[in-house]
Symmetry: C2
Subunit: 262 residues, 2 copies
Amino acid sequence: MTAPVKSGSYAPDRVEMIALRGLPMVHQGMDLARLIADGLEAAPLALQDDDIVVVAQKVVSKAEGRIVRLADVTPSEEAHRRGHETGKDPAVVQLILDESTEVLRQGEQVIIVEHRLGFVMANAGIDQSNAAPGHAILLPLDPDASALRLAAALGKRYGCRIGVIIIDSFGRAWRNGTVGHAIGVAGLQALLDLRQSPDLAGRLMQVTEVGLADEIAAGASALMGQGTEGKPVVIVRGFSGLRDEAGTVRSLLRPRARDLFR
Amino acid sequence: MTAPVKSGSYAPDRVEMIALRGLPMVHQGMDLARLIADGLEAAPLALQDDDIVVVAQKVVSKAEGRIVRLADVTPSEEAHRRGHETGKDPAVVQLILDESTEVLRQGEQVIIVEHRLGFVMANAGIDQSNAAPGHAILLPLDPDASALRLAAALGKRYGCRIGVIIIDSFGRAWRNGTVGHAIGVAGLQALLDLRQSPDLAGRLMQVTEVGLADEIAAGASALMGQGTEGKPVVIVRGFSGLRDEAGTVRSLLRPRARDLFR
């Protein structure tokens, strides 16, 4: 657990979010930090201390080659069964199972799993939209590490300390519509612990933890659009006091023992 | 269901979020639209077409007098039992039960319910922080209607058409930390239906609905802070093409039949 942040010290009065335009289609092996820097220069925009660079999972996965040809997948008996039950391609189901530690629920076209990274999410984050036909895109192997590499490379290039959040669109229980969620974090506190903050009446607060990286992920996601946009990078400027060299998306994962829906 | 929005038509390249400073403590009967307008003038800032005014639930509830003195509440047998089981004040439990249609789960200090408005949330959104001692604050009676009144009053004052989102901080299943969620919407589409949008490869998209009002709610929430801030209003500027006179938070409520966690 990181040290408590004073509530008043983090919430800025003004935040700007800027989507980069004109990034090329990303392919395996491309240097994503360099593509982002090129996009910044075209804007033109230079990163500053405490800027947060929000990046869509899909381009990170593509750059890292996390793409699987479905014809190369041999579905197990379980994958065939769940494919039949859900209407999903058994090869995709096999990938979902391979990426997961547990199946929580399944329904028409959806399998809710605990991803090996700890996220409870639909279909293990595996998506075929924006993949070449017959291919599927997996989440990055270690999104925190991917975020850290981007933060280091971009921070070096611009001589500043930035945060990076890698995001994916999650469906939610109980509510319609996907919302951007953090799946990798570097350089900033993902979860704010306000347990020592008094409220306006001077009492200790009932709400003690804020999922700030998820709030920023959601806001930035609204600028990315979905699929057709080609805007996988949003610069968020205005937050400060959130630096944390040990920042990680893992702080956003609710322990099973404290989860009423597991 | 609203008409499908072209994916490319909503996601802006630049969004500014501005928290209003210096709003007074809100009490029952105050004219919230006027307080917001005063805050805008102090900024100084004038609302424009398509601005989205994001307002914290707590000040809406206070202005509408949705405050209950706990001494006036007579807890039922069930409230006493659940209070004992959860460690919560039986009077608060009674208010939670009165505001809800169903209890889904309970744990230490928390009762997850379906609120009468349809939200699955902790403690029916009832909060004692920032309430006077011995009092609790309920959600507005009809947050969509509250949002519509604010949108009409502010739109008239500034001669423009705006959106309003009333938000509350929700805990989530599976993830730590609260995140701002829409509980009332007016003047804009809360849920975007992208079912007719092709992805970059020209295929129809798998992700077809975006919870845009929740994404905006989350982003704006990060500027409000929690409790100590006194910043219950954030202006979000940059979105366009989202106007919907019939906009409602109800579009964000997942029907029970399509919910795997009910």
